[in-house]
Symmetry: C2
Subunit: 106 residues, 2 copies
DNA sequence: TTCACGTACAACCATTTGGTTGTACGTTAG
DNA sequence: CTAACGTACAACCAAATGGTTGTACGTGAA
């Protein structure tokens, strides 16, 4: 998930893991507009990292603990991919065989 | 290094680790213009991942093995940072203390 | 010597991303 | 009831990024 690539979003996730908060109350904590924070929350929600629950006219944001755990393992895997990539590169030093290029993810 | 965040650049690094190649010969391998490849090489060169050596009218590109190794440890550290971040989040589940937000890297 | 080749670089373009302001709308406090 | 609040969303903006074409220039093959 690239949803956690932004530091503001990471902080929102952290905050709402401690205690749920309305979008406005969240917005007060950051040096940006309400709309910006609302967008961040929307991104997090779409990524399944956070859930919103209506309470009166407020929308309470809460972090999904399991999603965070899932993200953690995703990070582990991503790291593994990278390591494998670099490993493969350095390996090619010793056993130089012909290889072809394929377009991959991005 | 974000220089390795692009798959084309990763492939260039890989290729030039196996055997050095001129920019044109590299460019032939990818579905993009010569200029685009040349830019990628420039990025890699500036990141110190690759060196160029003039040979006649060609410019031979070669991957710096040590730089790749350095990149590898950088990846390791980056992963550690992320893990620490997620760890800290999940930790907050158990010991909920008040905390303040600080803007960080991006 | 000349001309094609390999290179560098500028100018431009489309897309993504994080931000803004403004508007619309439902809900609840007074 | 009405006004203020909390929210959603559209429209716009600026910067970054990966791509393009076009131009300029040095060098080596013919």
């Amino acid at each position: 998930m690239h949803a956690l690539s932004d530091s503001t979003r990471r902080d929102i996730v952290r905050r709402c893991l401690v205690s749920e908060a309305s979008v406005s109350r969240l917005a007060e904590q950051y040096p940006m507009s309400f709309a910006a924070v609302q967008k961040h929350v929307a991104v997090l929600e779409q990524a399944g990292l956070v859930t919103k629950e209506r309470s009166g006219r407020e929308q309470l944001v809460r972090t999904d603990v399991e999603a965070v755990r899932r993200a953690r393992t995703a990070i582990d895997q991503l790291e593994a991919v990278w390591r494998a990539r670099v490993d493969r590169m350095t390996d090619l030093l010793n056993e130089p065989k012909g290889d072809t290029h394929e377009r991959e993810e991005r």
